[in-house]
Amino acid sequence: MIRVQQEDFDVGAELDRLSAEATGAGAVSCFVGLVRDFSGGGAVSAMTLEHYPGMTERQLADIEAEARSRWPLEAVLIVHRYGRLEPGERIVLCATASAHRRAAIDACSFLIDWLKTRAPFWKLEETPGGERWVDADPDDALAGERWAAPGAGPGDG
């Protein structure tokens, strides 16, 4: 399941729903991305996430489908926020449930890696020096590419 929303989410409630959906799952893995109060050494007082409505939902659904095709998952959840967020606020939640912990952990790691370079979001930071667009991180591109071959993982590169 995927959701794109401005409002915050409740991680505990989301994971409870995911587990309830996944009878037979012994493993739930989750990743939460938060707004940091620094970036490239500078202070960040807020971050505004802009996205491409319509395409965002398609890309997230494609990423979920790809994860389900690679691992035996009982349930998958991606929640991605947009709008203006302050340091410490949640940006994104990826969660997976599987009978096996390795599948849950690897799939969750894959979800966040692919979101970084394939989800159409753009981040504008507010800093003491003014507004600044966050550049794509070359390491994120590498992390995403390492999953290019099914079954591959960041440890294989």
Binding site: M55, V92, T117, W122, K123, A136
Partner: protein, 83 residues
């Protein structure tokens, strides 16, 4: 043709979306960007660094040689920074 702009591409062009009617020579993303770049300095500046431009046609990521036509939704934007 429906154009959409995001991130610093949107900011430099100054509008998030517009409807355009390119001439007959515009057949793919490359020629579309050439044509848009000739409209004003703002477009030329926004679209000048093609290495840093990404494109989606009808909400699917595409290369610059992808064909574009009258009914398409074409989005130009910087590399995505999701997650």
């Amino acid at each position: 043709m429906q154009m959409l702009y995001f991130g610093w591409v949107r900011q430099r062009i100054g509008v998030p979306a517009e409807t355009v009617a390119p001439p007959a020579g515009v057949i793919d993303v490359e020629t579309l960007i050439d044509w848009l770049s000739g409209r004003s300095d703002a477009y030329a500046e926004a679209l000048g660094n093609r290495e840093a431009l990404r494109v989606a046609v009808n909400q699917e990521l595409c290369e610059f040689d992808s064909p574009v036509g009258a009914g398409d939704e074409v989005a130009l934007f910087p590399p995505m920074t999701g997650g």
